[in-house]
C-alpha cells in the first residue's frame, strides 16, 4: 500500500484550526470548572443537609457516568428541558464543565479537609489574625495539595475534549474524522491527528510529573 502524506500537508491549516478549538475548549472549561468545583466543594461542606445531599448527588453522578453519554444527554435533553437551542460548542462547554467541576470539587474538598484544625489553632495561639492564618498557613498548603491533582485533571480534560466530536464540535478529532471521510487517506489523516495530540499532550504529561515532584507534600 502506498501512502500519500501530501493530504496532511494540504490540510494542515484545517487540522491546526481543530487543534486550536481543542485548546480553547480545554482552557474555557477549566476556567469555568475551577469556580464550579469550589462552589460544589463549598456546598458539600454546607450546614444545610439538603444542600449537602444535592451537591453530593451531582458530584457522584457526574463522576460515575461516561462523559460521552453526558455530552449526548446535554445535547438532546437540555434543549427540551430548558426550551432553548444551544450551539454544539455551548453544549460541549456545559457538559465538560459539569463533569470537570465534579472532579475538581473532590480535589478542593480533599485539599480543604486535609489541613488539620490544629494548624488554625496553632496560628491563632501565636497571635496571628484569622486572615493571616488563612493566607500565610492554610492557603499555601492547600495550593500545594490541590495543584498536582488539578494538573492531572487538566491533562485528562485536554484528552477528553476529543469526545465533543460526537456532537459535531469542530475540534481536532472531528476535523480529522471528517477529512478521513472526504479524502479516504485514512491512515495518513488519523496518524496526523494522533501525532498532533501527542505533540500537544506529551509536554503536558511531563509538566504534570514535574508539578507532582515539585509540590509533593511531605508530612
Amino acid at each position: 500500500m502506498t501512502f500519500d502524506w501530501s493530504v496532511v500537508l494540504d490540510n494542515l491549516p484545517l487540522l491546526l484550526q481543530g487543534a486550536l478549538v481543542t485548546v480553547a475548549l480545554t482552557v474555557a472549561t477549566m476556567a469555568l470548572a475551577i469556580p464550579g468545583g469550589l462552589l460544589l466543594a463549598a456546598l458539600r461542606l454546607s450546614p444545610v443537609a439538603v444542600v449537602r445531599a444535592a451537591a453530593t448527588a451531582f458530584v457522584e453522578f457526574f463522576r460515575a457516568t461516561p462523559l460521552i453519554l453526558q455530552l449526548y444527554w446535554t445535547f438532546y435533553v437540555l434543549p427540551v428541558f430548558l426550551d432553548v437551542r444551544l450551539s454544539a460548542w455551548t453544549t460541549a462547554l456545559v457538559g465538560l464543565t459539569c463533569n470537570i467541576s465534579a472532579f475538581n470539587s473532590e480535589t478542593f474538598r480533599a485539599g480543604i479537609t486535609s489541613l488539620r484544625q490544629g494548624q488554625w489553632n496553632a496560628g491563632l495561639a501565636l497571635g496571628m489574625s484569622r486572615p493571616q492564618v488563612f493566607f500565610k498557613i492554610v492557603l499555601p498548603q492547600a495550593v500545594m495539595r490541590v495543584l498536582p491533582a488539578l494538573a492531572s485533571t487538566w491533562v485528562s480534560l485536554f484528552k477528553d475534549t476529543s469526545l465533543v466530536s460526537v456532537i459535531a464540535v469542530a475540534d481536532l478529532s472531528y476535523v480529522a474524522l471528517r477529512l478521513r471521510a472526504e479524502t479516504y487517506r485514512i491512515l495518513e489523516v488519523l496518524t496526523a491527528m494522533a501525532a498532533l495530540y501527542w505533540l500537544m499532550g506529551y509536554p503536558q504529561a511531563k509538566l504534570v510529573d514535574w508539578i507532582h515532584r515539585r509540590f509533593k507534600v511531605v508530612e
Binding site: 453522578f61 461516561p66 453519554l69 491533562v155 477528553d160 478529532s173 491512515l187 491527528m193 495530540y197 501527542w198
Partner: protein, 221 residues
Amino acid sequence: MAFDFSPILGAWPFLAKALWITLLVSLLSTAFGLLLGVLVAMGRTYGPGLLDAVLGFYVDSMRAIPVLVVLIWGYFAFPLLVGRSVDAVTAAVIALGLHLAAYAAETIRAGLTSVRPGQMRAALAIGMSRPQAIRTVVLPQALIRMLPALGSLLVIAIKDSAIASVVAVPELMRQSQILAGKTYRPFEIYTAAMLVYFCLCYPVARGVDAVYRRLAPLGSS
C-alpha cells in the same frame, strides 16, 4: 412534556444484550490493562535502564493521547498498516486496554517502590530468587496497597467502554443511540442509560473501598 418509557421496556432484551457487551468490554480491557500494567511496571522497576526508557515513553504517550484517538487509530488506520481487518470488539478491548495499562503501570510502579527495600533483601537472604521474591513478597503487597487506585481503573474502564460506541461496538451507549434514533425518545433512553451506568460504576467504586478496608492490613508493613 410527556414521558414515555415504553420504548425501553419494549426493547429490554436488546438493551440487556448491550449491557452484557458493555460488561464484557470493560472487564476484558481491565484484565488486559492490568496484566500489561503489571508487566510494564515490573519492567520499569526491575529491568535495565533502556527498557525503563522505552516503557516510560509508552506510558507517557498513552497519557498524552486521548483514548478515542487510540481507538480510532487502532480500528481504522492500523488494519491498513498490517493489511488485515480487526473486529470492533477486539479493537476496543485492545485500545482501551493499552490506554488503561499506562495508568495501571504507573499505579503499580508506585506500589512496588513503596515496599521497603529491606523486604527484598530479607527475601533474598532467606534464599529466594529475585523473581520469586518479587512474585511472592513485593508484588502482592504492592497490589493490595494500590487496590483503591486499581478499583477506580475498573470504573474508568466501564466509563471508557462507552467510547467504543464510536466504532460501532454494540454496547449500551451505541444501542441506546440506535434506540433513540428509532423511537425519537432520546430523553427517556439516554436518561435510562445514564442511570444504568451509574448503577454499574457507583457500587464498584464503593465496593472496592469496602474490600480494601478488609485487605489493607495485608499490605501494611
